[in-house]
């Protein structure tokens, strides 16, 4: 099988248990390209892992979407530069 995979440049097939153990690492982009590709291929074809992956991915997107941005960043930057100037900072 390994020879087959090597010949056809395919990532080795992995099982659901391995995918579940590494799903967060996969979704966070923390795996090697080869490992990531192997998981992507499995998830794409697996009726159990695909919904799980979609569920977790949607969660991460929702968390990121909840990220708050400062309402007045320029005002804060002005206050900050003034405070730094009092400590001797002179923008160059």
């Amino acid at each position: 099988m390994r020879i087959f995979n090597r010949l056809f440049r395919r990532a080795p097939m992995i099982d659901c248990d391995t995918v579940m153990r590494q799903l967060w690492d996969y979704l966070d982009g923390e795996l090697t390209p080869e490992r990531s590709e192997a998981i992507r291929r499995h998830v794409e074809m697996c009726s159990r892992c695909r919904p799980h992956s979609e569920f977790e991915r949607a969660f991460l997107v929702a968390v990121k979407r909840s990220r708050r941005e400062h309402s007045q960043p320029e005002r804060l930057r002005g206050v900050l530069v003034e405070a730094l100037a009092e400590q001797g900072f002179a923008p160059q």
Partner: protein, 202 residues
């Protein structure tokens, strides 16, 4: 400090530290969840960074250095109640996440996160986490840090970041499913067929 040296310090600080103002502001806001406190934290962080600029090694990652100062300042100056709980093994947490997904699916919440705007509930779930779990989510999920960068900022092994992060995500998901149940959110997506399809599983 001589004038040329002072000018060089200010130039370098402006170019290398202040350029991270937007990221630092976002990080401070995600730590404090409160704009007024974030303003104080941002100022305090940059003032400390300026005062200790000589200890910054040129060419190293300035954003991470600022995040460390910000995080330490937050912990020190705001005297937050620091509830410290340690997480289990990251592998076990990953498997627990799969179990949680299975129960969410059975309860009809398989598409909860893509179907509803849960921003406020996510904020509350994040706030309820123990401090060390919240830091992991704040760095990785809200501020796009890799596990390795987060580990450097928190001064813990990468494995600790993983286990805290995975546990934190599971706790947040449990809280969000509870919220959905309490709020009577009803998914329009079909429930899973218990017999499953014909596709591959292994």
């Amino acid at each position: 400090m001589s004038d040329p040296a002072k000018r060089e310090k200010d130039r370098a600080f402006g170019a290398e530290a202040l350029r991270w103002f937007p990221e630092l502001t976002r990080f401070a806001l995600s730590l404090t969840r409160n704009e007024a406190d974030a303003d104080d934290l941002v100022q305090e962080t940059f003032l400390r960074a300026y005062a200790s600029w000589d200890s910054f090694t040129p060419g190293t990652e300035c954003r991470g250095w600022l995040f460390v100062i910000c995080r330490n300042t937050f912990r020190r100056t705001l005297l937050r109640e620091s509830r410290q709980v340690e997480a289990d093994d990251a592998e076990l947490e990953a498997l627990a996440a799969a179990a949680l997904h299975a129960s969410a699916l059975q309860a009809g919440y398989g598409t909860l996160f893509s179907e509803f705007d849960l921003s406020d509930a996510i904020g509350r779930a994040l706030e309820a986490l123990p401090e060390n779990f919240r830091e992991a989510v704040t760095l990785v999920d809200l501020n796009d840090q890799s596990y390795e960068d987060a580990a450097r900022i928190l001064d813990v092994p990468v494995g600790t970041v993983r286990s805290r992060l995975f546990r934190a995500r599971r706790l947040m998901q449990e809280a969000l499913i509870d919220h959905a149940r309490d709020a009577g959110l009803v998914s329009t997506a079909p429930r899973p067929n218990p017999k499953g399809g014909k596709e591959m599983t292994s």
